[in-house]
Symmetry: D3
Subunit: 318 residues, 6 copies
């Protein structure tokens, strides 16, 4: 079966794909007809597709997030590849395909990611800090196993958030060894908590964000997480004015570094400075890695990447 | 008695003043001697002063925030007026002077300001919103009667914060009448809560801010107030995910309008847009009014005002 | 009759509308045909429409700003609603419809707005200021009764400019009462004059701006209004170097506050600071109100609003 | 006689200088005494100076802008040279020195500069443009012969403004020859008018600006000059809405190029683009030339120059 | 023959043009057909065109940068003119047309431009500077005769780079006469070298840039030219740490003036300040001239020009 | 012996220190006397000091970078501690003190740092890359063992540059393990080369930068290092247009990430993105660590740190 990423102009192909987006539209002209404007995806990438002359049965059959078997041809439209769907049907049990095979996922399984996070949680020595972290993680619990870290910016796929946390924990462990003046409990807690309210900020399914929630838009994940720490401290009877609580809230509030990037305060503890740079390093390098991964091997340049000063990345031939 | 604001170069004067700041310093030269570098103030303004050749008794007698009787002469130093103190003593009961006569205060008494705020609180029709407001106001209660609204920016004097709130409530009342689509409960609550954590953010005495608190520096009054709303809601059993709680937190979080001005989210409700403009109008006009008030009548221009694009204000002669 | 704002996908409807924009275009394909790309509007909003297979008679019949009777169906195109016109004809006298019923207007009649402005003009106590205001208002006289305040930014409808002025005068009156150190004559004059050259800056019909004039593009309404004050003073024999003239020109020149927003000088009188904030408060809250008004009740969010940090507004359910 | 520019640390010298600034100050210490904090200058530069232990006669004798004979020694204070005045007296007729020998001046005589400008004025072919230019020049007439072009930015010396205009006219003549599509009348008029209101914006004596005028602060020279064109057109009966008047006002209004640099509109005619660049080229190169001229030959680097991205200029040894 | 610039809506025309861009696309609809999406150009401008129902022969016949004879009609599409091609064939020898007649070129012949540059090169008095210049020019030698100066920004046509250099040399000669403190050798060398690596930065044919090279993207023409000077100095045995080499590299590195415009250092020699302004003046005025030239005479306004604060230029009628 | 960092107000102490800066100044007053304005330092920090009534012998005896034995008392001046020197003499051999004991140094010995760097150099597998790195390192060879990484920004002490490189190499090694798609040779080479021209950019002694060199000011260390790579490639016969050379130059040129931070191009290879973040993480965390180290333990807050958004760092008590 051909992966989306491998399709080239003029290809005539058949395969299973996920119907990521579907909209019924009307053709121009005197006798407009319905057609589907579609986005098909699999784990390797996505491509837009047209399905012309749809029947009323079609309109009742196909919906986003359905798995379909497609026979199509690849065309070029406005310098981009696009699929013309020749035939399409829903998959059945006999096709023996699973939804999760068709979405982009973190390269480590959700179970392993959650396990890694849990282990770090239990290694936090300070009991109060550990309790606050546990409380906040519990609030999003099952979402942590599959939510992406962002809509498009970075780690925008199934279990992307947990993957981002785990990789940051690895960097954090290294940095704490290299610079022993950093407090490992605060670094661990800061990493786990910094984006912990993202699943509340975004509405996502199968690693794909469809929208932001009301709380996401009006409060944002940074202020949400800070409030959760307040909640956790009240719940566990920890003094809200203790340095632990203030220190954890400061880590969360300052991790975007600048006001124009969403942080109401700037990093003013050693761990807050470290957290910002651990976050930046993991997010930016993942953007690079993902962009190279989803760009055909034959292309020397990835598309422009907003989070990298809107520059593309060149695939060095060394 | 001569007010600070009225002192002119070469004046020889005697009067009562507040010792706002005092530092013991050493003169230059081969045989350095102690002297006091002082800031004297009264309700009309402040001026720096030098007290040369201080004795060790002097060093044990005079401290900041003490009331003193001063005989001095006014000199010019680096284009600014400065007092050379000829004689100085602490005031006694017989002088019949009170500390509060020597500090800059809001033009309305703290009692009246608090009364006005309480009345608006009780006029909030929605019981849950009222309870949240009451809880947060209770947290700062007696500080609300005397704290300034800022260190230097605006309303930087005794009861300046309460005065700022009361004047904003007047504008808010007008705007709700002019534009009935605004929800008066949210406007009232937003005005009372928007700076409610300032007394926790700053350390002040007699309306004079000496520093920011740890919470002020690491969290800031905006995030603090948002957390207090969380606290209040938990305390009163109000759903943290209700539109009321989110709406109030949004008002507080967005009232500085832009990220670079400290707001992690931008106004996205009608009342949040209104709150920002009510706040700006009151703060900016008060800066103008205070600058004109504390500039000698004979001066056509006030000093440069940071909050007004760092421009001075001209006293029109119309 | 169905209002534009009420149309929903798949509706089949008949009604009267204003042909706001019309362009003759050609379909793609080997035998391209003419069609109309149209914008229909009424007082509740506007929607784009297509009229396929137009005849040469059609091309001589229909022009922008004509009233038409339309039979159409509503379709979805690129996630937006769009009308497919089935039949269309010009209205006749018998239809008993008037152009002004089909355009978006200020909620107060032009006569009442002009009357309100005139009354404030005559209440200006300083004769020279009043004469300058009268002169400038006279220059745009009949345009003041129907011009919008902007192309799209705010108050972009019939008599929007006069409505903006009247509402600002209400705020101005309140602020002068609240802060007696402000000079009411300057506030009144500043409000009436600040945008007075907008009708010279823009080319508009029925409250709809089609373009900016040469003077609008090369000089801008701020410099134009400042020159009009020069003209007015020369005409009335008022000293060009008097504080009145300078003060009025300063109000106009500084009302956008910052250089990057078009003001060559920043506010440096009390009244100039006030004027900027009165203008901002009225413009921004009107943007909010208009956006909520023209967004279907069922939609919780308005579109993004450029003038509000490009954020949408949420319709609180309180 | 030693020029200011030539003084070096430890020099003991006698010479005539201009007392550019003088302030009476008090020494620190228990028995403060009066001293003068002085700025001495001549055409080659300026240096600060101290005159200790001044008598009351001294205080009645010496004032800014007086010519003095000074015996002094050069000292180093905070890494800068400074004069300790040993003896000082006012000059008398017998000294045969003239004020104008001690101020920094344009390298061409005022008469020649004015003559050059007048000649260009009379070469403007369009009579209406010429009349407007003549009117505006007449408004500042004798000030044009000696005013500087700015307080410190560039051409900050006697007749600096006229020199700036004349040099720009030379560049303008060249550019009009190189690019015949430019209208020479507009280029000439734009150059003469662009800073014509500077003498009204600033208060200056002997080429030294002491302050900005009220009009300078509240309106700025750009808007002032635009209003003068209005005045001129009214006076000469030229249509205010003609392209000539609009074009000239556009040249003046746009010559700072950006809003943040003070221009309410950006250049939108060929001549306006040219004017901005002619102005920039002359101003920036003059900053360089003046900085090199007033920096001792032995110094490879000039001081930092605000108008040149706050960089110093290196004196290449080629 | 009709020039592109002269085509108006509904014109039916026949003529020779250059096929600047060609893409094979598919029509929408159930039975999609191939068509060509084309850009046709001649020396006066360019226009997009559609060629419907192309055969497989057509697809093997027509390629970009081919000369074609076209019979077409002009249509309006989305407010822009567009050509519907009725018939099209490749030109033959008998048509007696040359490629170079159909591209936009500098108004002076490449030979004359190169000759002018060579003459200036040989007039450089300092032998080492001359050798460095000669070496760098030799690196791009034949490309200098036809490369444009930019993709779209300015001088974007055949021999645009050489034309830019020659015109800057004219300004440079004038400025060196006006300000003799400038070193003519450095000005000449700076002008010739400042953009000398552009032909290495961009991939162009017939004055049309199709892309940037790898070196262009990863290093940029500024750093490239600086490295070439290093190369040249090594090659000619000139001390890399001499003021000549440093001075020339500084000229190249600083000529964009600011970091955000691509210069890693800001101008800090007199010649570097001059070079930046000579470059700006020539580039900006050429943008204006080219925009007016390629806008139909009947249009009073050119399109928006990115490099001129994204403003259009008005064609004054004086 | 008391460390500078431990001195407190009123301390009377004797010890050995380094005379880091010394300026002869004159006291104010009628009979000015020479005094020394001094900066004393040791490895723990620095403090300004005054030595009053200096003799002419003193002026010939004491110079910057000399070791002295000092008897002094600590005073407070403008809220800062300052030493009044009671007695001072140069150290002799008998004092058995070494210069290097009195300067701030990297916590690892220069030998070990150089050894670590050399080892990484020899581990670069690609021979051409290794040769280029070796060539550039050879250019600064002995300076690499003692130069600081910056004047004040970060690692501003003896061997600070080598320490910065070694710590970055540790991070680089970790990141290459965590993300195998990164090329270790390029990461190693990028880290060693990114600041390799700093010793040419700055003039330093004992880890203290006194000024920038001419090349530093006119070219900057980024362009210098890029030119060195050109030099190295020419010297080793490596193709200047090979991906290796371009890739290495890109790493150096882009490592400041943004134009306003000095990089003429933005990172566009995976390794360039990584290099920027490795550099930022090490520099910022070292700023934090150094600031905490040099702030007395009793102080909860460090001074403001320019490179950390001009914020101070709080010493958490966890």
């Amino acid at each position: 079966m051909t992966l989306i990423k491998q399709l080239a102009s003029s290809d005539d192909f058949t395969g299973y794909y996920l119907l990521k987006e579907l909209e019924v539209k009307l053709t121009n002209g005197a006798t407009p007809k319905d057609y589907f404007d579609i986005v098909l995806c699999d784990g390797s990438g996505q491509m837009s597709a047209k399905f012309w002359d749809v029947s009323s049965t079609d309109k009742e059959t196909f919906f986003p997030m359905g798995l379909v078997k497609v026979h199509g041809v690849v065309q070029t439209y406005r310098e981009k590849l696009q699929i013309k769907i020749v035939r399409m049907r829903l998959t059945t049990e006999e096709d023996q395909v699973n939804l999760t095979d068709f979405i982009r996922s973190a390269p480590i399984s959700p179970n392993d990611l959650i396990h890694a996070i849990k282990q770090v949680q239990s290694s936090i020595e300070d009991e109060e800090i550990r309790r606050i972290v546990d409380y906040c993680v519990a609030k999003v619990d099952d979402k942590l196993s599959h939510y992406p870290a962002a809509k498009t910016h970075h780690h925008a796929y199934f279990a992307g958030l947990a993957y981002h946390i785990v990789r940051m924990l690895e960097i954090g462990e290294f940095i704490c060894k290299q610079r022993p003046f950093l407090n490992p409990d605060l670094i661990k807690a800061g990493i786990i908590l910094h984006d912990i309210a993202k699943p509340e900020e975004m509405i996502a399914q199968l690693g794909i964000v469809s929208d932001y929630s009301l709380q996401g838009k009006l409060l944002g994940h940074i202020s949400l997480a800070s409030s959760w720490i307040t909640e956790a401290a009240i719940h566990s009877g920890i003094d809200l004015e203790s340095e632990k609580v203030i220190g954890l809230q400061h880590l969360v509030l300052s991790h975007h570094n600048l006001g124009e990037w969403g942080s109401p305060v700037q990093p003013q503890t050693a761990e807050a400075v470290a957290l910002h740079h651990i976050d930046a390093m993991d997010a930016k390098l993942q953007m690079v890695e993902d962009a190279l991964d989803t760009t055909p091997e034959s292309e020397p340049w990835t598309p422009f990447i907003r989070g990298l000063e809107n520059k593309p990345i060149y695939r060095m031939k060394l």
